[in-house]
């Protein structure tokens, strides 16, 4: 009776001849291009999420500052109904905001938020590039 181990050994030897090679010379390059593309996509998605978080945080901060300084840009909203009133309300709100400097504060805070966001993205990308 032939030993099972011998048959196994012979099968291994026979099947070694079934190994196939990737013949496409560009296989590695194409695969790595796809991987790099995927990586960039992931980084962009991460950055979008980061932007969203910063945007929410900056807006929350703006409302906090406006609340602390006693400026309420929505204070007359409930009194006005209808489209013309809405437009007038916004125009009046904008005028009041400029006069009371709330708008300028808003712009400055937004500008600060965007700068912070850019710095964060830049430092994150620098970290990623340095680790390459």
């Amino acid at each position: 009776m032939m030993k099972n181990s011998h048959i196994d050994k012979l099968t291994k030897e026979i099947l070694k001849n079934s190994l196939l090679e990737v013949t496409n010379p560009d296989f590695n390059v194409t695969t790595m291009k796809k991987i790099q593309h995927e990586s960039r996509k992931q980084r962009i998605l991460e950055n979008i999420f980061l932007c969203f978080l910063v945007f929410v945080a900056v807006d929350a901060l703006i409302f906090l500052v406006l609340w602390l300084t006693g400026l309420n840009i929505f204070e007359v909203a409930h009194r006005l109904i209808g489209m013309p009133h809405q437009i007038l309300f916004h125009a009046e709100k904008l005028k009041n905001s400029i006069i009371e400097n709330a708008f300028i504060k808003y712009v400055m805070l937004s500008f600060g938020g965007v700068m912070l966001l850019l710095m964060l993205i830049e430092s994150k990308l620098k970290l990623l590039d340095r680790s390459k």
Binding site: I7, I14, L20, E38, S131
Partner: protein, 187 residues
């Protein structure tokens, strides 16, 4: 070594993923080809499998080897592609193989030149079912253990042993038939 490169890739060094592409593309291609039976499809499947592996690299828990985890992705992708393309091949008689079969296959096989040996092995594998080909490739070519095959294919351990045994026997029957035909044609 795999762990080191895995850490580098996870730290953001994406170019280091080429290590895995280089190391596993051959075996992954062999596995995919044995299932889908088409070079272009197999290459595409392997590329997609690398992409899937890269996407879920953070989810890889290291409970198993990277290769086992990756080959499972290759097998699943290949099987879903194969299912949509063609039916399984008919099965061969599954009885035990007599020693005489193995002996005659061994002597006839050894008398062949390397290129002919390859040809006969590929022909024999082509006549087997997808599952048989896959199990033989994993166990005898890639030298995966029964546990690893269980993890890669999802077939339970006892069934893997039985199916492997049957697949091996079928392969010898086919090899014996083809080699005998070759000998007769030469006479």
């Amino acid at each position: 070594m795999d762990d080191l490169y895995l850490r580098l890739v996870l730290e953001g060094n994406v170019s280091k993923f080429s290590y895995f592409v280089d190391k596993y593309k051959g075996m992954a291609f062999s596995i995919a080809f044995r299932i889908v039976d088409n070079r272009e499809d197999a290459e595409e499947i392997v590329q997609d499998a690398f992409l899937k592996a890269f996407r879920s690299l953070e989810k890889f828990r290291k409970d198993s080897k990277f290769s086992t985890w990756f080959y499972r992705i290759v097998v699943n992708s290949s099987l879903s592609r194969a299912r949509s393309k063609k039916p399984e091949l008919s099965s061969i008689d599954e009885g035990d193989i007599a020693d005489v079969f193995v002996e005659s296959v061994e002597s006839a096989y050894r008398s062949l030149e390397l290129s002919d040996q390859k040809k006969f092995v590929h022909l024999a594998l082509e006549e087997l079912s997808i599952e048989d080909r896959l199990l033989l490739t994993l166990h005898y070519l890639n030298e995966n253990s029964i546990d690893e095959i269980t993890e890669i294919t999802g077939i339970i351990q006892e069934n893997v042993k039985m199916k492997l045994y049957r697949a091996r026997n079928k392969m010898y029957r086919i090899l014996n038939k083809n080699l005998q035909l070759e000998i007769q044609s030469l006479l």
